[in-house]
Structure formats: structure tokens, C-alpha cells
């Protein structure tokens, strides 16, 4: 017999015993088994799913740094130029490494100056290709849409709130894009790139994203964000007051 001691989507803190029993699947690294009980290790929201007498328990952390995983899309800022690679700040505890041969797409001889291609402070959109505990995260730009970012606005939010900005099945992201008309790229490391038709819409998108960050742990957020954007648009005279 398994017992869940908290409701779905409730807030748990480190040390909370969230469940007891053995017919449980733990879907998060932030849950730990201690004997027969399951203990939370971070402040977060508990997710409970039940399927034929088995519980699947997960924990979405509300705080914490970005820790890279292979396959993550990240927005990085060039921090240092090496002989055959760049060091990229990806807001992780360890710097990202982007090899020159990967960025240029061809073998690279160290005779050239790398700052010709990417200089300190440049922004890139990249994917984490490899990351194991022994080495620094290796980045790649060899995929469609990745590479140097030349235009747009960059904002930062807490990396732990990224899943909320995207939403279940990208629902929040599509609301944001549809309602503001901005093109939005969300990096898993909490950096967000906005390409907007005008400054007013950009301001609205930024405010909406910051609101999501602040209220990430509340329910019914997608609807509230939709209303918020419409309200802002009316306030700024982008659409009429009646209907929309």
C-alpha cells in the first residue's frame, strides 16, 4: 500500500515526507527514498499522477541554478576566447565550451583569430551536446536555428521558472506569442530572446514573462496572463476597449 501525504500541486520544502510505501515511481531527482518514505529535498511543487494503483510522484523545483542536460537549448554569452574554442556563460555552475570547428562547420587551424567570428559579449543560441560530470558542458550550433544572435531583446528569469513560461504542451508560450505578436525563444537556462514588431509589444511581453516568473507556483496562470496582456494592450492603445 502506498500513501501520498500531500495533494497534487502543493508546496513542499526540504525534509517534508511526501509519500510512504513502495508502489511509487519517483519522477524527479529531487525526491529521495528514506526507508519506506519519500522525502523532498528542495522547495517545489509536488505533482501526483495515479494510474492503476501506482502513483507517479514528481517535484518541480521553484528555486535553484541551471544545471545543463544534453539536448537543452541555451542562450549563452561569449565570456572568453580560447585557442580553438570559446568559453560561453550559460548561467550554469560550469562554463559552456563551443569548439571553433563546430561553430565554423569545418576543421579549424589555430592560426586565425577567433574574435573575428565571435567576440566577448556576443550572444549565441546553442544546444548542449554533451555533459558528463568529468568535463565542462560542450555546446553545438550545428542545427537549424542555432548560432549567433544578431537582433532582439534578451531577458533573464530564474531558470527554475522556465517550464512555466513554456507551459504544458507549450500552451503558455503560444499564448504569449499570439497575444503579443512577438517571436519568443526560451532557453532552458532562463534566458529569453524576444523579437517584437514594436517596443510597446516588447514591453508587454517582458512584463508578462516577469509576471509568470513571480507567480510560477500559482494555478490558472495561463488565463491570467492572457487577461493581463489584453489589459496592457488596451492601456497602451494598441487595441480598442470593447472586444478585441
Amino acid at each position: 500500500m502506498s500513501k501520498i501525504l500531500f495533494e497534487n500541486r502543493s508546496l513542499v520544502v526540504p525534509g517534508d515526507v511526501v509519500a510512504e510505501g513502495d508502489r511509487l515511481t519517483l519522477a524527479a531527482p529531487f525526491l529521495r527514498r528514506v526507508g519506506r518514505s519519500v522525502v523532498a529535498t528542495v522547495v517545489g511543487l509536488l505533482t501526483v499522477e495515479k494510474s492503476n494503483n501506482e502513483y507517479k510522484v514528481g517535484l518541480i523545483p521553484l528555486e535553484g541554478c541551471y544545471y545543463p542536460r544534453p539536448g537543452d537549448v541555451v542562450i549563452g554569452i561569449v565570456r572568453d576566447i580560447g585557442v580553438t574554442s570559446w568559453l560561453i556563460d550559460i548561467r550554469a555552475p560550469l562554463p559552456g565550451v563551443l569548439n571553433a570547428s563546430d561553430y565554423l562547420g569545418k576543421p579549424y587551424s589555430p592560426s586565425e583569430d577567433l574574435s573575428k567570428y565571435l567576440d566577448v559579449g556576443d550572444v549565441i543560441l546553442a544546444k548542449v551536446a554533451q555533459f558528463d560530470r568529468g568535463r565542462d558542458p560542450l555546446l553545438t550550433v550545428q542545427e537549424k536555428g542555432l548560432g549567433k544572435v544578431v537582433e532582439g531583446a534578451l531577458i533573464e528569469i530564474k531558470p527554475s521558472r522556465v517550464p512555466r513560461v513554456i507551459g504544458r504542451k507549450r500552451s503558455m508560450l503560444s499564448v504569449l506569442q499570439e497575444e503579443t505578436g512577438c517571436q519568443i525563444v526560451v532557453g532552458n537556462n532562463g534566458r529569453i530572446l524576444l523579437r517584437c514588431p514594436d517596443p510597446e509589444r516588447e514591453a508587454i511581453a517582458v512584463l508578462a514573462i516577469k509576471k509568470i516568473e513571480r507567480e510560477a507556483h500559482t494555478q490558472g496562470l495561463t488565463e491570467r496572463i492572457k487577461d493581463f496582456i489584453i489589459e496592457q494592450k488596451i492601456k497602451r492603445g494598441l487595441i480598442g476597449g470593447s472586444g478585441r
Binding site: V13, T41, E63, Y67
Partner: protein, 244 residues
Amino acid sequence: MGAVGEKPRLIDESGRRIDGRRPDELRPIEMEVGVLKNADGSALVKFGDTWVLAAVYGPREAVPKHMTLPERAVIRCRYRMLSFSTHERKSPAPSRREVELSKVIREALEPAVLTELYPRTTIDIFIEVLNAHGGTRTAGVTAASLALADAGIPMRDLVAGVAVGKVDGVIVLDINEIEDMYGEADMPVAAMPGLGRITLLQLNGVLSPNEFRTGLKMAMEGIRRIYEMQKKVLRQKYAVIEEE
């Protein structure tokens, strides 16, 4: 410390202590998390007139790099008493006592933190005593553990601490500065109550085996109460946002 004068009466006829508390009574405790904007996690803890501020950064890249470990994060901890925290100005240079307490507090927190999740990084903990009135190391442990949780660093359990002492032959909980100065014994204890593990135990003075057992039991009960307050305050941070 003021002039060392006559030893005051620490327990009066009715069994009350010098500040009017019963022997098993804690000082009024206040806690707040997320008080510092720049830190990844922070907490302010007040045990009566003892005020302690803790800030946590990380896990982050270590400087200098050679001090990192390949299999886990390194925890660095600095405990400091501010110059104005005592009656007579304390020299800002780190004293022998502060260096030792930094190590003791670090060792009280290390068993709780899941350092193996973040190899080759460091977690920095800064503990600043704003006002010292006895029990600063246990208040420091309590604050630092809250700050770690606030930073989203995975922990096996929260750590809470409190000191017990023997004054005028009576075992008392959460001793203040005067009781510490004139008492017969002082025993700081820190523990992870959820797991039933003690992470810090020191004893200054003399206790009989029976007094030790009574004192430890009293300390663990105090720690339980502090632990519940810690959990409550961590939850409160998000409840406030929800109401807005």
C-alpha cells in the same frame, strides 16, 4: 561583554530565568527568507536579541579552481561577527573563534546538502552576526540552512540548532549571553529532525551523564519547534505572492 561584575542570580525563587523565561522556553524567534536580492538564497533569523543574517551563493564555479573536488561540490562557509554586534567593538579581523566556528558550522550543514549532485563546483555560505546575545552559532546554522533551501540547493533535511545550558544547577533551553557567561555549562546542538540525526554537538563546561541526557532531550525538543518554524517560513514566502 561589558565589565565582568558580580554573578547575577540566574534562577529566581519561582524558577524563572533572568529574562523571565521558564527553563524549557525558547526566546521569541523570528525568521525571514529571501531578504537579500543579490544572493541566490538568504535568511534572517532572530533568537531574541541574537540576530543572524545568512547568504548562500551557488552552486557556482570555484575560484581558485584547484580547490574543487571531482566527485562533489565543495562547501565554503564563513561565520563572522560584525564589529558592532557586541558591547565592545569587535575587531573586524577574523578571530580564532570565528575561523573555528566557520568550520564547525560547515560541518553541521555538510551532511544535509546533496553535494554529490554538483561536482567541481562550490557552494558559498556567508553568516553574519548582526547582534550577538548568546547562541550565535546555532542561530547561524538555522539561518544558513534556510538560506540553502531558499537557494534551491537539494538537502536531505533542514538543519536547526539551539543551545542548552546549566545555570545555577538547572538545565535550561536556548541560553542567552548572560546565562552563557555565568552558567556552569553550555551545549550547542544542531540536528536534522526529520532524519533524527545530530550534526553538531559541543559542550563547554561540566554536565553529569544524567544532566547531559536531560539537556540533549530538551535541545531536541527545541530543535523540533525551530524546525517547524523553518518549514512554515519557507512556505510563507510563496503564500504571500499567491495572495497578491
